[in-house]
Amino acid sequence: MREIAFCFVILLAGYVDADCSPAKDPSKIAIAGGSITELVYVLNRDSQIIAVDTTSNYPEQTSSLPSIGYVRNLSAEGILSLKPTLILGEHDMGPPQVMKQIEKVQVEVKKIEERQSAVGIIEKFECIAKILNVPASETEYLKENLLTYVTKLEEIRRVGTARPRVALILSFIDGSPILAGNTTSGDGVLKMIGATNVFSDIEGWKPATRESLLSRNPDYLVITERGLKAQGGMAGIEKNPALRLTSAVKDGNVYALDGMALLGFGPRTLETAIVLSEKLK
């Protein structure tokens, strides 16, 4: 009896983990999560999107859609007023109390799992395609397309023997850089291209001290475009006390990329990761 119950739990857990079953009615979708929005555009189902959150800023056209706020700070009544038939969200959409309020009104809500790897992006793509009932005839070609990037990334990882030592900077607080530690999307991207994250021993996005940056001395710095702009461009980086003495800045190996494209773990992350790996050669 206990074994049966156990199996049931496993089955249930498996089911919940991969809830990619087709939605009852995907005709009017509200999306909370930039990578999901991008994937729905890739699947050519953008005409079904009725609203997006503030992290969905790509492609351009999304800016004309009503905004339901930030993915982790949604408003129940606001979303429901748009009468969506389906709410698609990133694994961290919330707050949980608001999600519970929405459930009470019996609008279908699907949370898409996130694994921060190249294969994870393909899984996300397949999951959304299933939920939106996109026929295989349409997805096959698109998937092929994405898979070529994945293969390319695998090759980059295999061929690259000299693993570049990189620090990835999200933004700055009072001039000190916020760095990608372990379990962050930034760390995921660096793993994807076989680079070494010099801050992989810290957990999450953390501010780094000048000394820790000097002692790890990364050969490359990767910065989000927004972060670079906030510091006053490359000139600002060269003056930044925490960064200017690193090998990366001395040798001019500082690269800026669009934050959402690099770290969003949507389809663009695959392309951007390849672009990044070229730069780190």
């Binding site: 706020g69 700070n73 009544e77 606001g78 707050p95 109390q97 009104v105 999450g204």
Partner: protein, 349 residues
């Protein structure tokens, strides 16, 4: 009125004898305003609803659910939090005889924040059963608020004979310590927790839910009533602690009661809504400028006006950028501050 109080002790006691007609009128008027603000808030929002349809039964299932599960708990919570903050502010200003006192000062808000933040960061690691997990954050916030207030009380009682100055200074120190704790939790939190934490600190009534609102509402309601009952004693305290003592007031007991009850009211509210500034400090001053300084009108008046202001602020935050929402703390300050300035200019205080 003023001449009467100056006459003789006999008329002084007359002043305390009960509410004047004018005071009753003001409170009834405020109650009416609260009723209309509440009705307006219940009937407006992102989803168009008609109260009439809800009453005569012609409303659809979706509308009923939105009204009863989303909007109603939200309006009730915002009203009670506004009332608690304002009543606690009024009482604490009276107790400390300091116009700048507010619930934040005695550490209630930061204590509650510390409790809630610890739960955001460590809650998932505790692996609590579901039925407790719903209450874990509000409970932690209340424990934080009570703990900090209790510490403030015992510390200043033991080392400083619980004088007003000690309480204020210890309050400042405790607030600083609590922000150290909050900062530490922020550092320990992962990306997702950090973002929850930031939004919790901003304050919102969007998370209102009957199962958490009901217990908090009971605590707030009882606390407000207890605070209102202290008005005569607080009026006498304005004459000075020694004078109040000679008028037969147990000053120490009054202080203890008022501080702990205020902490309960504010803690229960902050636990669900997050931190919302301005209301506790400013609403009592609004009531003083508009209706007078007697605590018999100040405390209930602040509670009613605080509820009105908070419900309207939440209404504005809900409808101004549909389908998204503004942080409610932003709205309370944006609505209240200019009005407050106008009142100061007019009254030339």
């Amino acid at each position: 009125m003023r001449e009467k109080t100056l006459e003789a002790p006999r008329s002084l006691s007359l002043e305390f004898a009960g509410k004047s007609r004018r005071e009753n009128l003001v409170l009834v008027m405020l109650a009416f305003v609260l009723f209309f603000v509440g009705a307006l808030a219940l009937s407006s929002g992102a989803v168009p609803l008609s109260i009439g349809a809800l009453i005569d039964g012609s409303a659809k299932g979706l509308e009923i659910t939105i009204f009863s599960e989303i909007r109603a708990p939200r309006v009730i919570l915002s009203g009670l939090v506004g009332a608690s903050l304002a009543a606690a502010g009024a009482v604490l200003q009276g107790l400390f005889r300091n116009p700048l006192a507010d619930p934040g000062l005695i550490g209630v808000s930061s204590g509650a924040a510390l409790g809630a933040v610890s739960m955001i960061v460590f809650g998932s690691a505790l692996d609590l059963p579901d039925w407790i997990a719903i209450y874990s954050m509000p409970l932690a916030a209340i424990i934080g608020a009570m703990g900090v207030t209790f510490f403030l009380y015992t510390f200043s009682n033991y080392y400083g004979h619980f004088s007003v100055v000690t309480v204020l200074l210890v309050g400042i120190a405790i607030n600083a310590l609590a922000s150290v704790g909050i900062g530490a939790f922020q550092y320990l939190s992962d990306d997702a927790q950090l973002r929850s934490l930031v939004f919790w600190m901003m304050g919102s009534f969007g998370r209102a839910d009957w199962i958490t609102v009901m217990p908090a509402a009971s605590i707030m309601l009882v606390s407000i009533l207890v605070l209102v009952r202290q008005s005569t004693q607080l009026d006498r305290l304005q004459l000075g602690e020694a004078e109040a003592f000679h008028l037969g007031i147990n000053v120490k007991k009054l202080k203890r009661l008022v501080i702990l009850v205020s902490a309960g009211a504010v803690g229960a509210g902050v636990a669900l809504s997050g931190i919302i500034g301005f209301v506790g400090l400013v609403v009592p001053h609004l009531v003083r400028l508009l209706f007078g300084v007697s605590h018999r009108i100040l405390i209930p008046g602040s509670a009613l006006l605080g509820a009105c202001l908070m419900i309207s602020a939440d209404l504005v935050s809900r409808i101004v950028i549909i389908p998204s929402e503004l942080p409610v703390g932003l709205v309370t300050s944006a609505l209240g501050a200019p009005f407050f300035l106008w009142l100061i200019a007019r009254a030339r205080v």
